[in-house]
């Protein structure tokens, strides 16, 4: 399951959606807004999404991960909109029967997500505002 959404998520609620007693290895990655960034206080982030393409890319990543790591269940959620320090940004949950595969799969999803999924971060620091990777 994948989702690009503005709303916050609950890890417990998401875990219940993919309950599978055959899987003993659940790995959860939670990304949150951090401060400071390069020594500067973060006020907030604005995350913009190209939603249709982001959903397509996440579906591709999820499909590839299931095939590559024999993952039984997975959830990938990424938020967009205005986010403040401590807010949830991204949740990845993978379940399999093998802990190494679950860890590797979560890392694989995160790395591909950062490279391929069209989400754009505008950072508001206390002394400047800038787009990541930005012109």
């Amino acid at each position: 399951m994948i989702s690009i959404q503005k709303d916050d998520f609950s890890i417990d609620r998401e875990l219940k959606k993919i309950k599978n007693d055959e899987c003993g290895a659940s790995v959860i990655f939670l990304g949150t807004v951090k401060s400071p960034m390069d020594g500067k206080k973060v006020i907030k982030l604005e995350l913009e999404a190209y939603v249709e393409m982001a959903e397509k890319k996440l579906e591709e990543i999820e499909r590839d991960t299931i095939e590559k790591y024999s993952i039984r269940e997975s959830i990938i959620i990424h938020r967009y909109g205005e986010l403040f320090v401590g807010d949830n940004i991204v949740l990845i949950i993978v379940k399999s029967i093998d802990r190494k595969k679950s860890f590797d799969a979560a890392k694989y999803i995160l790395e591909r997500l950062k490279e391929e999924v069209p989400l754009f971060k505008k950072e508001y620091l206390d002394d400047k505002v800038f787009w990541h990777g930005g012109a």
């Binding site: 990304g31 995350l47 913009e48 999404a49 190209y50 249709e52 393409m53 982001a54 397509k56 890319k57 990424h78 940004i89 991204v90 995160l110 997500l113 950062k114 490279e115 391929e116 999924v117 069209p118 989400l119 754009f120 971060k121 505008k122 787009w131 990541h132 990777g133 930005g134 012109a135």
Partner: protein
Amino acid sequence: MNITVKYFAYFKETTGLSEEIIKLESGSSLNELLDIIAKKYNFKKEKNMIISINHDYAKTDAKLKEGDEVAIMLPASGG
């Protein structure tokens, strides 16, 4: 032919547009479209510009067809 061009992040702010329709000669390439856009909005084409056609990343020599959706973006920075 009509091409829908979507702008994201820095490019949305610079153009003041989320999207627009641009008319091109049949058989035009993505590169030709980018020339028009770069001139219109004074972009430097090569600078941090990531392009997709119909939700897949594209190279500038790709050919366009009627109704294509082109997006102009920064490199992904989610996660």
